[in-house]
């Protein structure tokens, strides 16, 4: 079984996959360092996960079990589309259960359930350079990385504190990997940043349009930038999930017909698993929130 007639297993030809795997090996060897690679045009648009798709395609084997999430959910249209793509071109088993997957391709979230050493998490990355909004020239940022000169980012965070009293970055929050390279964790909420740290799973990052891959090997130190007197902190809600009663997950705010709000887990598998285990929230009697 080969998937789509006329195309190689998982779409990319073997030479291209090998080229990407070599770039990934380099990325694993230098945690957090952005490795340029010969990104290919994919049949999905740039900016829609082509980097993650190329990484997944080049590491995918016939026995792998693939999970694809977007915003934490398996059911959002782009996640469905990417899963369909690998279904058609590689005919691999897919799942929406975090613990069953060997490869999880994700956009904007890290699953709530802890990952294990047999899993690989593949991130879709729109802008791999963490300093791109501060210094758009790659020739300059490359030099700053070489010198480990991250003053630019520290000054930005400091100015946030001076202006707002706290750091005003809530997603794609910059991290220092293995004490060396400043890295963009992709636009995951900073809520997920602690999960990057000492993860037993291999974490691979693919930026197709920008033609870069980078990696966090298992059990690697990943620190979110902060200051001694302004330590890093994550979002937490006073609400719990209205479907599964979870108080430890990232919650999406849903606007109800009557104008009220309810909060539900962004990780659909986590929520479903908890509901199956007997946890119930206020579910069908949406919580009216007084502001």
């Amino acid at each position: 079984m080969n998937g789509l007639p006329g195309y190689n297993f998982a779409y990319l030809d073997e030479q291209t996959k090998r080229m990407i795997r070599r770039a990934l090996l380099k990325a694993v060897a230098i945690p957090g360092y952005q490795v340029p690679f010969g990104s290919r045009e994919m049949p999905l648009p740039y900016g829609w996960g082509t980097g993650g798709i190329q990484v997944t395609a080049s590491i995918l084997g016939r026995k792998d079990v693939l999970k694809v999430i977007d915003q934490g959910s398996d059911d959002t249209t782009n996640a469905v589309n990417i899963r369909r793509f690998f279904n058609r071109t590689a005919d691999v088993a897919t799942t929406d259960r975090t613990e069953e997957a060997t490869i999880i391709q994700t956009r904007h979230r890290i699953p709530e359930k802890p990952l294990n050493e047999n899993q690989i998490l593949v991130f879709q990355v729109p802008l791999p350079e963490p300093m791109t909004r501060l210094e758009p020239h790659e020739a300059v940022t490359r030099k700053l990385h070489a010198l480990a000169d991250y003053g630019l980012m520290h000054v930005k965070l400091y100015e946030d504190i001076a202006r707002y009293g706290h750091i005003a970055t809530t997603y794609d929050y910059p991290v220092l990997v293995n004490g060396r390279y400043l890295m963009a964790p992709s636009p995951i909420p900073k809520f997920d940043n602690p999960k990057l740290h000492m993860s037993p799973a291999l974490q691979l990052f693919g930026a197709g349009r920008e033609k870069r891959v980078y990696a966090i090997p298992p059990w690697t130190r990943v620190e979110s930038l902060d200051f001694e007197d302004h330590p890093f902190s994550i979002q937490r809600w006073q609400q719990v999930c209205a479907l599964c009663d979870a108080d430890d997950s990232f919650l999406d705010e849903v606007v109800l017909d009557g104008g009220g709000r309810m909060f539900v887990c962004s990780d659909s598998d986590y929520c479903r698993t908890r509901q199956a285990a007997g946890h119930t929230g206020t579910e069908n009697t949406p919580m009216e929130v007084s502001a």
């Binding site: 648009p45 915003q71 959002t76 758009p136 020739a139 707002y164």
Partner: protein, 376 residues
């Protein structure tokens, strides 16, 4: 009531069918054939081949049909197909002096060896809608020249070069093999061969606008259209087992050589400099825009002050590709609930802080606000 977002796959499949029906249009009207698109929409086909960087008129016509005439979508389709093709080898550089000319004009000399050849151009048409085309019309029979054009015509820049009035265009020391942008990532600083490759695949509208900006003072350029030529050139490869060049076909190219003033420097006497544009098919606007931008991007090399966007290689080259640009701009349609939620919480926190006297005070905020906790 909260309805879980389900059924995405069915919705996607339904959208395919709607799209196919909209593409086909009224079934009472005859369906477009690829031969019609190829033959009667040749300029659209040329643009798709050029920016799709694949010279195949049939596939470009198919892409245009599938994309319902949307050029950028057709370019994307062709590019995505192109990636799957094996690379058998690289051609011998084409020699545009050997071009079988169908058009050749120079704005710098009144007459020149080989003459001025207008060819099929809209340049001197009066742009009056021709209502006779609304109905089927008899096929026109074009006039032909009394004497055939010479097999080779010297390029205007070669004529100037004989006098030393224009910078020589010589291969770099050691004649290094140019990189292949379709196989390797763009890195900065990029050499001229790489820049030209990038511009050749670049969006026509973008190059047109950037080139235009250099004429309006955003870069100090004084260009002359030294020569524009269009026609067919043979494409040759050297198969390893033969060791000599064989012709495998011919392609239509449009070449533009812009001539620009250059004041000279301490090392170089005043002379004309070049901007170069080359495009598949009849793509004059593209080739001219490209030549203007190429010249502007040489500012650093020629010791000119960089003051304008068109002179900045990272700005120009990182944004030429319309497949990349279209994808990234339109990815904003993808869900961003999580980022948005994070921003929403931040904004609530800021508003609540600014409403109070003390900035950064986290006590007594509305119920909806996320509280902060120390990292676990």
């Amino acid at each position: 009531m909260y309805v879980a977002v389900k059924g995405g796959e069915t919705a996607i499949l339904n959208s395919y069918e709607l799209l196919a029906a909209e593409r086909r249009g009224d079934p009472e009207v005859a369906e477009l054939t690829l031969a019609q698109i190829r033959g009667q929409m040749r300029l659209a086909v040329a643009r798709v081949m050029c920016e799709g960087s694949l010279y195949d008129k049939d596939l470009a016509a198919l892409a245009l049909k599938q994309a319902a005439g949307d050029q950028v979508e057709a370019i994307f389709l062709l590019r995505a197909y192109r990636t799957t093709l094996p690379r058998f080898g690289y051609s011998v550089p084409v020699d545009t002096a050997r071009m079988a000319l169908r058009r050749r004009i120079s704005a710098t000399f009144k007459d020149l060896p080989g003459g001025q050849v207008l060819g099929p151009t809209y340049d001197y048409t009066q742009r009056l809608l021709d209502f006779s085309l609304a109905e089927a019309s008899a096929a026109p029979t074009p006039p032909s020249a009394e004497t055939p054009l010479p097999a080779t015509s010297p390029r205007v820049t070669d004529l100037l070069g004989e006098e030393g009035m224009i910078e020589a265009e010589l291969p770099l020391a050691g004649d290094p093999v140019p990189m292949d942008l379709s196989r390797e990532p763009l890195r900065f600083p990029a050499d001229r061969a790489t820049r030209l490759q990038n511009l050749a695949r670049g969006d026509e509208g973008y190059l047109l606008a950037l080139g235009y900006s250099t004429q309006r003072g955003y870069a100090n350029s004084h260009p002359f259209a030294g020569e524009i030529r269009m026609g067919e050139v043979p494409l040759e490869i050297i198969p390893e087992e033969l060791g000599f060049a064989i012709t495998i076909g011919q392609i239509t190219l449009t070449e533009c050589q812009m001539i620009n003033q250059f004041a000279g420097s301490s090392d170089v006497p005043p002379q004309f400099t070049r901007g170069y544009g080359l495009a598949f098919g009849e793509s004059e606007r593209k080739a001219m825009g490209m030549a203007l931008v190429d010249r502007a991007l040489r500012a650093a090399e020629l010791g000119e002050e960089i003051t304008s966007p068109a002179q900045e290689p990272e700005f120009v080259l990182a944004h030429t590709d319309n497949v990349e640009a279209s994808g990234f701009v339109q990815h904003l349609k993808l869900p961003h609930y999580v980022d948005f939620q994070s921003e929403l919480e931040l904004l609530r926190k800021m508003r609540s802080s600014s409403a109070k006297v003390g900035v950064g005070d986290t006590a007594n905020q509305p119920e909806l606000r996320a509280t902060e906790r120390e990292e676990a």
